[in-house]
Amino acid sequence: MSAVSVRDVTVAFEAFRVFDGLSLDIEEGEFIVLLGPSGCGKSTLLNAIAGLLDVSSGQIWIGGRNVTWEEPKDRGIAMVFQSYALYPRMSVRQNMSFGLKMAKTPKAEIARRVHQAAELLQISHLLDRRPDQLSGGQRQRVAIGRALVRDAAVFLFDEPLSNLDAKLRNELRVEIKRLHARLGKTTMVYVTHDQIEAMTLADRIVVLKEQKVQQIGSPDEIYRRPANLFVAGFVGSPQMNFIKGRIEGSGTGPEFVSGQRRLPLAEYRFVSKPRPGQQVVLGVRPEHLEIAEAGTWPGFKIDIVEPMGADMVIWCSDGEGSIQVRTHGSRRATPGTPLTLGVDVGQVSLFSAETGERI
C-alpha cells in the first residue's frame, strides 16, 4: 500500500490545464523530491496533495484513504512553507499548539507533543519567543516543529530552505534528512528547484517540466541515466557537456561521430535500437572525461581553468566546440596547453536529436 497516491489527477484553472491526468505513487516512509524549474507545476502538485487546491478530476489517496475532497486538516498531513508562515504575534509555543487546540486535543497531550518536537529540533529555549525575535533558520525550525506536533504520516515541504542563506540551507538540509531517518515511517514530499537538495535528500526524485513528469527515479538513476535532454541538463553542476553528432554503423558496432571526434558505442546500453545515420546528442558529464596521454579525443587545448578547491573545471576546445572537464584540484593546468580527452563509454548518455529522449 502506498502512502500517497495521485491517480490520474487533472488540475485546471479556468481553461488552463496545469496537469492533465498525472499519476504518482509514493511509498510509505519514502522521501520524494519534486524537482523542476519555477512554473513547472511542482508546487501546484504539492498543494493538490495537501488539499489546498481543488483537483478537477482524478483522485488523491493518502494512507489508503481517498481524500480527494477532504479538508487539508483531515488528510493526515503536515506542511512546511517557504515563507515559514508562522502566526505573527504568537509565541513559538502558541504557534506549535494552535492547530492542536483547534482540534480540541487535551492540554497534557499538547504539552507533551510540543515538548517532544522542541527537543527534537533543539528549539526548547525559544518556546516563549515570538517569530519576529527569531532568525530565519530558527523560524524554519519552528515551522517544522509546528508540522511535527501534528503527528502526521505525511510531511509536505514547499521549498522550505529557499529563503535561507547558503550556510543555513546546508545545515537545515542535513537536519531534515536526520529527522526523516529518526521518524522512521514518515513519508516526506519535498518540493525544490535546487538539484543539490534533491540529490542529497531524496529516495526518489520526480523531475517536472512544464507540468509534465520527465523522469522518476533514484538520485543515482536521474544523475547517471537521465531520461531526456532536459533532465540531463537540469541536474548536475557543472552542466553535462552536449555534443551533436550522428550514429554510424561499422563492423564492430555502432559508433558516435561528430566531426573529428568518434566514439565506439559497443559498450553503451541502448534503450532503443539506433538507426545508422540517426542525428543524436551525446551527453558526457565533466567528471566522466579524463585528461589522458593517449585518449579517445586528441587535439584539445585548455582555454580557461576554474579552480574550485577540491576540484577544478577545465574549459577546453578543439576548434569544433568547448567542453568542460572536471578533474582533481591538485592537477596543474595552464591555459594554452594541448591535451587529449579520454571518454568512459559506460558513463555517457545518448539522446535523439529529434525528440530529446534517451536512446
Binding site: N47, A50, G51, L52, E71, P72, K73, D74, I77, A78, M79, F81, Q82, S83, Y84, A85, L86, Y87, P88, R89, M90, F98, G99, M102, A103, A143, R146, R150, D158
Partner: protein, 312 residues
C-alpha cells in the same frame, strides 16, 4: 614637530572654502523652503499662539489684548451649548470611529472572499468618500426627514405605526449624523484594510488550513494582529475627521433641533464669526487644541519617540 605646527594653519583654509561652497550650493534649497518655513512660523505656530492668547482676553467683536485669566474658560464650562457640543463630539467620535472600523473591516473581509463583481462592490462602498460633507448632509437630511422620507416610505408599505423621527428628535438627532458619517467614511476604512488583507502572506492562509483553524479564527487571531498598522492609520484618519466635524452638522441639522447636535467646531465658528464673541470662541478652539494634542501625544510618543529609544 615644528613642521606640523607650521603646516596646520595651511590645512584649514581649504576646509572652510569647502564648507562655504557647500552652503552656497544649498542656498537655493533653503530659499525654496523659505515660503513654507514662513507659513509654518506665521500660520501654524503664530496663529495658534494668537488664538490661545485671545482666549485669555475679553474680546468680543474686535480683538483686545487685555488679560482676564481663565474667566472665558469658566464661562465656557458653564455654557450649555458648549457642554452639549463636547458631549456630542464624544458620542459621535466613539460611534463613528468604532462603526467605521467594524463596518469597514467586515466589508473588506467579505470582499476578500473571492466574490464576483469585487470591483463593483469596492467602487460602491467607496464613492461616498469622494462627496463633500455638505452633499452627504443634504442627502441624508432628505432621506431621513420624517414627513417625506424613510418613515413615510415604511408607513406607505403598510407599517402604519412605524416611527423614525431621529432627525427631529432631540435625543436621537446626533445618531443620524453618525449614520451619515458612517456612510461617508466606512468605505475609506474598507479600502485601507482591504489593501492590508491583500498583503497577507498566502502561505499563512495555507498553514492555517492545514492546521484546521476556522476561517473566522484566522481573521481574529492571525490576520487582525497583522493589520494593526492599517487599523492605526485608519483610526488616525477617522479621528482627524471627527475633530473637523462641522459641515455635516451644518448641512443636516444646523445644530438642531434646539442645540441637540451642536459640535465644538461649530461652536467656535459661530462665536467667532456670528455671535461676535471672539474670546469665548478662541477659548473653545484652545480646548479643541488641547484635546487633539492629548490624543496625539501618546501616538507620536509611541511611534517616534519610544522606538528610537529601544533601538539605541
Amino acid at each position: 614637530m615644528t613642521t606640523v605646527s607650521i603646516r596646520a594653519p595651511g590645512i584649514s583654509p581649504p576646509a572652510t572654502t569647502k564648507a562655504r561652497r557647500r552652503i552656497r550650493t544649498r542656498l537655493p534649497a533653503a530659499f525654496a523652503l523659505l515660503p513654507t518655513a514662513l507659513v509654518v512660523l506665521v500660520v501654524y505656530i503664530g496663529c495658534m499662539l494668537w488664538t490661545v492668547r485671545l482666549s485669555f482676553t475679553s474680546s468680543t467683536l474686535l480683538p483686545k489684548l487685555d488679560w482676564v485669566g481663565l474667566a472665558q474658560y469658566s464661562r465656557l464650562f458653564a455654557n450649555d451649548r458648549f457642554l452639549t457640543s463636547a458631549e456630542n463630539i464624544v458620542i459621535f467620535g466613539a460611534l463613528f470611529i468604532s462603526g467605521c472600523l467594524i463596518l469597514g473591516f467586515l466589508l473588506a473581509v467579505f470582499i476578500d472572499q473571492n466574490v464576483r463583481g469585487e470591483g463593483i462592490f469596492r467602487t460602491l462602498f467607496l464613492y461616498p468618500y469622494a462627496m463633500s460633507f455638505v452633499v452627504t448632509g443634504v442627502a441624508w437630511q432628505w432621506f431621513l426627514n420624517p414627513g417625506l422620507g424613510l418613515q413615510k416610505l415604511v408607513r406607505d408599505m403598510g407599517f402604519e405605526s412605524f416611527t423614525f423621527d431621529w432627525l427631529v428628535n432631540q435625543d436621537m438627532a446626533i445618531y443620524t449624523i453618525v449614520i451619515a458619517g458612517l456612510w461617508h467614511g466606512s468605505g475609506l476604512t474598507m479600502a485601507i484594510l482591504l489593501a492590508g488583507l491583500r498583503g497577507v502572506d498566502e502561505d499563512l492562509w495555507k498553514a492555517a488550513r492545514v492546521d484546521g483553524i476556522p476561517t473566522w479564527r484566522v481573521y481574529t487571531s492571525i490576520v487582525l494582529p497583522l493589520l494593526r498598522p492599517m487599523v492605526v492609520t485608519a483610526t488616525v484618519l477617522l479621528a482627524t475627521g471627527v475633530v473637523k466635524l462641522y459641515e455635516l452638522v451644518v448641512a443636516m441639522t444646523l445644530g438642531g433641533p434646539g442645540i441637540a447636535t451642536e459640535v465644538p467646531a461649530k461652536f467656535v465658528m459661530d462665536h467667532l464669526f456670528e455671535r461676535n464673541n471672539i474670546a469665548l470662541g478662541t477659548a473653545a478652539a484652545t480646548i479643541m487644541l488641547i484635546a487633539v494634542v492629548s490624543v496625539l501625544a501618546p501616538w507620536v510618543y509611541a511611534r517616534y519617540v519610544r522606538p528610537q529609544g529601544r533601538h539605541a
